[in-house]
Symmetry: C2
Subunit: 615 residues, 2 copies
Amino acid sequence: MKRLLVGRPIPTSAQAGQRLVKLLALAVFSSDAISSTAYATEEILDVLVPKAGLEEAIDTLIPISIVVVVLLALVVFSYRQTIHAYPGGGGSYIVSRENLGEKPSLVSGGALMIDYTLTVAVSVSAGVAAVTSAYPSLNRHRVLLCLGVLAVLTLGNLRGMRASARLFAIPTYLYILSLGALIVIGLVRSWTGDLDALPTNEARVADFTGGAALVGITPVLLMRAFSSGAVALTGVEAISNGVPAFRKPEPRNAAITLTWMAAILGSGFFLLAVLVHRLNPTPFDPSSPNYQTLLSVLGEHVFGGKNGAYIVLQASTALILALAANTAFADFPRLASIIARDGFLPSQFTTRGDRLVFSNGILALAIAAGALLIGFRGVTNSLIPLYAVGVFTAFTLSQAGMVQHHRRNREVRWRRGLAINAVGAVATLAVLVDVVVSKFLIGAWIPVVLIPVIVVGFLAIRHHYARVDAELRVPPGWHAPAVHHVAVVVVQKVDRGVAGGLAYARALEPTRIEALAVAIDDGDREAFEGAWGAADLDVPLTVLDSPFRHFVGPIVGHLDAITTDGSVATVVLPDLTVDHLWQEPLHNQQTLLLVNELRERPRTAIVLYPYGAES
Amino acid sequence: MKRLLVGRPIPTSAQAGQRLVKLLALAVFSSDAISSTAYATEEILDVLVPKAGLEEAIDTLIPISIVVVVLLALVVFSYRQTIHAYPGGGGSYIVSRENLGEKPSLVSGGALMIDYTLTVAVSVSAGVAAVTSAYPSLNRHRVLLCLGVLAVLTLGNLRGMRASARLFAIPTYLYILSLGALIVIGLVRSWTGDLDALPTNEARVADFTGGAALVGITPVLLMRAFSSGAVALTGVEAISNGVPAFRKPEPRNAAITLTWMAAILGSGFFLLAVLVHRLNPTPFDPSSPNYQTLLSVLGEHVFGGKNGAYIVLQASTALILALAANTAFADFPRLASIIARDGFLPSQFTTRGDRLVFSNGILALAIAAGALLIGFRGVTNSLIPLYAVGVFTAFTLSQAGMVQHHRRNREVRWRRGLAINAVGAVATLAVLVDVVVSKFLIGAWIPVVLIPVIVVGFLAIRHHYARVDAELRVPPGWHAPAVHHVAVVVVQKVDRGVAGGLAYARALEPTRIEALAVAIDDGDREAFEGAWGAADLDVPLTVLDSPFRHFVGPIVGHLDAITTDGSVATVVLPDLTVDHLWQEPLHNQQTLLLVNELRERPRTAIVLYPYGAES
């Protein structure tokens, strides 16, 4: 079953590097960032329309978009510094660990884990929305579709998709081309008078306002709208994490690629706002049953219906968003393995599975993202308030770490670098404060609560591991004390299994062998004693009474008596091996119960001794 | 947690009998049968209205009801015979096992298990419908409400509700009184001209027909409508199962109580049809969002609104239906324990839990009924086609068993008894055929497929148990061969746990001791060997390579080599005991994996040896 789904194991020796030319690297690393153009513009309008109406919302869209693009420029300049300072890869966790110390790095790690989880949830829900926009009757199966996409991504990553970078490039460039075509054709047709602006759809606006009177643009509304637009920046850190994947000279190529990416993202995002301003599309309320994305409304209008060009736009949108989610499936497990190697997460996250991937990290991410998709009914708009907190926390710590890096290392032109990173840190911190303040009650409180909880968890895990390590260290010259033990063979039925168990117990040379049965129902004692006498097994049988029909309780009491003198009790449990899986529940249930209950006891060795047709 | 939900354990000695006077016995045993008046009439109309319209449906209701009442009389006469023949309790499984042999008794057992599961599902959904009829806004939370009621019943039964029969009597008699009041007040007001018939609600009728033209009453429609009405008979066998609970002379008192029950059920069901005929209520389509039960429509009209009397009717309906479901929670686990004692179900079903109840049977029933409620969206009407198959299969086999009983035993007046049971068997068989034929495609196929599957499962389980028993029997004078063993201590980390494991292994006096580690990542081999040298543990360490990063695979290969000469491999797994539950996932994951993988291997004893602060 696992083999069929996940594939045959891959040896460690197959782990190999592959260096990417810039054109491919751009496709591999920028799907997350560029795909946010598919929803960021709409998210700004979704904040503004309910309070200010469509006309004022669209008028406010362009200035907000300009501020977002300026912020993007600041962050990108900042990350160019990181690329040059950390040619081995400078994720926020590593940069803050090296420059700011343990606690900030853990905050950064927790924030990134939340960020990656939300990248999956947001990208999957937005990708599904691109599909349901084209086929609105699918909208009511939204959650199911999201979980389906998530399942495909999870399985693909557990298999260790080593799809070539070329394959990854297709959806990214297809989306860039489709979006470019939408913008260029839309603007040219509009300016030449070939395409009219859409009339405001009052019914859709009423869905937003719910009939309440408009209050116009307020400062808080502007803050909230800007924080929704700022999600366009998610994913710009990807290139700085992946510097070693570039061709030499890595930092220079990575920095150039980052600039290209920012240019595409920034111009796409800004020109989309201009197009919206020209064409006046009315967005759908995200909870509307016949919801379509803003991009879908624009595409239908610009391309003149739900034709081939429109379908290519929607399909490439869905594909690039799936690719963005897939990026998090690579990043989250890698980050979890780094944090686990530092001792702050369970060691299982460091082990690569059959297929050379960090299977546990992949599964943890899939479960968390699945819970978000179910909890928020697969609606992108509901997830956005949670999204920006993690991203901008990580941004801020990363930039602050770079400031500290410049101060410490004083490399060539460090003052200039420090200035750039300081501006970046202040700008991203301002956005973080903006998000938390303006959206605290509608969702931002969740990451604000979760990040400290995760950090406390990190510290508790490391503290526990450290304590156990110290306690269990073997001092030089120390020897474990010698052991003397009593063997107890548990009898559930007088059969060959018990006979085999007794023979094995004899080979263990205990100081004494006991056979132990528990009388649960009336008549059990007589039945055991009768069968025992008939089988003639050399060892006397002790039958314990159990007034509450418990199996484990009386045995534990008996073991307590055995171990008081410091002896170890070797509890031999004959364990029937079955031929077929379906027979498993027909046997050994009491045995498994006993294993579970006795595992916590000191001086009690549990021995599962197999028997079946062979013994 | 379990203690809080389920309560403190109860000793076996608390199992005690309590004899019931007839008036209480009637309440205890008849809730299942009498409660079916709450939905059976409506189910007949639901079949007829879509094809024949309301007027013709109501005209056909009275003749169908008369046939159902005649069938009830035949079945009750039949069961009076069973009561006298089996004063110790004559369930269908026991009667067919004694008289018809193994296979028919298994068919009967499978049919009854399905019947009890559907009793729970149908009664819970109909009870919830009584509540949502009074508060229609709750209708969209129907499935959740059903699962809530199911959870309460499950927990109550796991606790072993020993509620006094007096407490059980309240809802039953309250329902009988409310239904009686509805019928008497309704008929008197109607006959005196104080209450007009309701006008046909054309919109509701259109919900049923979906705008299609009426085709009138056809023979197939009549068959289907009759089979829906026949569900009124479910539960009449309860008294014959419970004869020993009556005061002496048990058979006589039980037979009298059965006749009373039949009189109440038959007259209630028939008079309800008459009332419907007088008042012309239009039922709601069961999938309608503002669905109300027929009883609710009648109650509102007769009592003059949703007033106090109406609420008492709805509440008592919900309560008696909950009680009916609760009956199945007593019957299913008891039946499963009898079948398991005969070896056809896993032995876990025979063990009484902490609270003296058959916990596994209760949980199995809850899961199956929960699945039905979710799968059929908590709609009574969708469950009805499945319901009657199990009931009438069990009825038929029980009556046929009685025919055989009379032929064999030839007691006083056996010819009369034989005639009565033969008529009963033929009548119930006819109903069974009617249900299967007329409703095969709309749900009856499910039990038709399931019953043989269950029977095959029963036989496979018994065959397996018998084979294992035979193979594992200890022949007189047989002794298990002597064992020689090699101890293998698995090293995951060089610490006190390994030192302790080695000391314990030494006490087991094996022919040889090995310490075994697996090098999963690059550098593991050197790390293990370095730490081993430093710890100075007397036993040489073998480090196995693992190109696929598997932990278990290389160990299995090594054990194969050890056991080829007939030695047993004693695999000692040092098992870290933790102080708190949350620390559990931080340790021992590889150990548990190894236990799971090695449990299937012959000649391999798995030893979990605890270590922690104590050792």
